[in-house]
């Protein structure tokens, strides 16, 4: 049990996918200007990441490995991810129209969110079993959500701040993201 907890905390804080591994930066910069849409995006990504992580593991373990088709890994994983994203899009459109509108193009773009494919491939590389894959995917998603929501809250505050003219907009957001990344590097000492 403690092994899974350690894996979860390690993925959320120490090996945070956005700020330490630098995966999934597109939605991190793109959807973080409003807190509400950031929360919506986090929930959608959490759903997709966890499901895609588990499904990719199953596809790899029970379809690709028995037939010695390791070289088709990337292709079939992208197929799995695309299906899960499409499914999520239908779900969001049905349940919350305003969220669907707020997320806009970024919802289908989860397909190309490299954190999703990254989690699926890292699961194989690190030889995780089924439950470890699920925890790893969920942890990556929680880490992504945590950072995205924190960052969007900061950006909402920044919008009201008196920023020097050359730093307005994207520039100050980049600097903030860099400082956040530095702060998250500090978690390296948490797990020995």
């Amino acid at each position: 049990m403690s092994e899974y907890l350690l894996l979860l905390i390690g993925t959320v804080l120490v090996n945070n996918f956005v700020l330490v591994k630098f995966l999934g930066l597109c939605p991190f910069m793109g959807v973080s200007s409003k807190l509400e849409s950031a929360i919506g995006m986090s929930m959608a990504t959490t759903f997709v990441l966890t499901l895609a992580s588990v499904l990719s593991y199953l596809v790899n373990q029970y379809l690709l490995l028995p037939f010695d088709l390791d070289y088709l890994r990337t292709m079939s994983f992208i197929l799995v991810i695309a299906v899960v994203v499409q499914f999520t899009e239908m779900l969001v459109q049905k349940t919350s129209a305003s969220l669907y509108r707020a997320l806009g193009i970024y919802l289908p773009l989860i397909t190309t969110n490299c954190a999703v494919l990254g989690v699926a491939l890292l699961n194989i590389n690190e030889k995780h079993n089924f439950f470890q894959s699920a925890v790893y995917g969920f942890g990556a998603a929680v880490g992504f959500s945590l950072v995205l929501i924190l960052f969007s809250a900061m950006r909402e505050r920044l919008a009201a701040a008196d920023v020097p003219l050359p730093f307005r907009g994207g520039a100050i957001a980049m600097i903030t993201a860099g400082l956040m990344s530095l702060a998250f590097m500090g978690f390296t000492g948490l797990v020995k």
């Binding site: 509400e36 849409s37 596809v59 379809l63 690709l64 037939f67 010695d68 088709l69 088709l72 292709m75 079939s76 197929l79 799995v80 299906v83 499409q86 499914f87 239908m90 779900l91 459109q93 049905k94 129209a97 305003s98 669907y100 509108r101 707020a102």
Partner: protein, 189 residues
Amino acid sequence: MSGIFIAIILLTVLALFFGLLLGFAAEKFKVEGDPLVDQLEALLPQTQCGQCGYPGCRPYAEAIANGDKINKCPPGGAATMEKLADMAGVDPEPLTATEEVQIKKVAYIREDECIGCTKCIQACPVDAILGTGKLMHTVITDYCTGCDLCVEPCPVDCIDMLPVTQNIKTWDWKLNAIPVKTIDEDVKC
């Protein structure tokens, strides 16, 4: 050679399976029309007045969903505008209609500063200022139209334009909105 065929067959089967799954989901989670338009229309007052420039509330809801301004509905007022802003995910804006309506103001003479020069009395087009030479003047607020013409001539600047706060006495019954026809009693139909 057979390895390639196995790979092709496997991927085809996988794609077919996922395709079927998505097709099933699309049928199950089908959305009729644009749900955002329905929700926006539910917020509009359904007066079908056309003051927004569209032939009714439904066309205006569709226009908002396509990015039109949310402040074109005077019957709904500020409350509806705020709900629309919330639903459409844009910032609230002041209503176009309320910008033009100005707050009614009346002139007020600070009586202890008035020197009784009668210059404002001569300027007043509606004879709403009462007073005479070397005695202080005052404004009959019921007659004052808020035209500002008396402010300029006053040599001691003792005239203020005060906004009228609405209370029981200043309540506008809008009685002139009811058409009144005077019938001459002598004329027999």
